[in-house]
């Protein structure tokens, strides 16, 4: 089992679900891929298909009809799965709290493993969040 745990920790592939967000967390997430932060150093890759992912990164508050969609994406993810809520909106709905279209933060919809607060969180914080998520494996 040592090999499996090691390999899982060394190769977290990310699927990014951008919900009703202001885009900043999405940009900071992509920023983490670029030369300054280069998360490929840690084996982190951004994948286009949920079937390839180990870590679901959700940014933005979840709006009402985005919620079933998110739930379904979560169900389609192969086990073991980790979920990371990035940004104030994803963790608490932030400034959009109370709006008629917001269903709530991510943890109302699917179980969340790691919360990364901040508006937007810096790329360093996002990387730190991934590290904390991997520690749960």
């Amino acid at each position: 089992m040592g090999l499996l745990r090691w390999s899982r920790r060394k190769s977290p592939w990310i699927f990014h679900f951008g919900s009703a967000s202001c885009n900043n967390c999405d940009i900071e997430l992509i920023d983490a891929l670029t030369p300054r932060y280069d998360v490929e150093r840690f084996g982190i890759l951004l994948k286009g298909s949920i079937r390839h992912a180990d870590l679901l990164v959700v940014t933005g508050a979840i709006n009402r009809l985005g919620a079933p969609r998110l739930r379904r994406i979560y169900e389609q993810m192969p086990k073991p799965k980790l979920v990371m809520a990035v940004g104030s909106c994803a963790t608490t709905t932030g400034i959009f709290d109370g709006s008629y279209s917001i269903a709530g933060p991510v943890d109302r919809v699917i179980p969340v493993d790691v919360y990364v607060p901040g508006c937007p969180p810096r790329p360093e914080a996002i990387i730190d969040g991934v590290v904390k998520a991997l520690a749960k494996l």
């Binding site: 009402r64 009809l65 008629y100 279209s101």
Partner: protein, 151 residues
Amino acid sequence: MELGKKEDVLAKVKDELKDKFEGHYAKGDHRLYLNVKKEAIRNCIRLLFESMKARLSTISAVDLGDRFEVVYHLTFDEFNLVVNVKCSTPKIEAKIDSVTGIVEGASWIEREIKDLFGIEFVGHPNPERLILPDEWPGDWTGGEYPLRKRR
């Protein structure tokens, strides 16, 4: 010169609309607010957009309690003037002529206003929902149109 242009615009609109024109006021040199009757809105937009080459920036709707005010913001880029054409429609049977036939870019804006305020744009070629879901309002208890004021 800019002031002259503003007055030119005003004179032309008055000329075209005659008794459908209800009044105006200006705020500074670059903002002109016109009140017109809602029957004349197509004429007014056609004049401003087609003959005078203004650009439709957007359309706003405002809930004034018993009626809606619809504000068409048109921009004259060459001489820095925003003409805000206002017309109002009663809340019961809120209807207004669509300007999409004249300005293609108005299509989305009108559909959005229809979704949010429930103002019907008569003659819109494609009056489908744009931004609200088909099963709206769902479990939303604030009435059918989210931006209408609740009484």
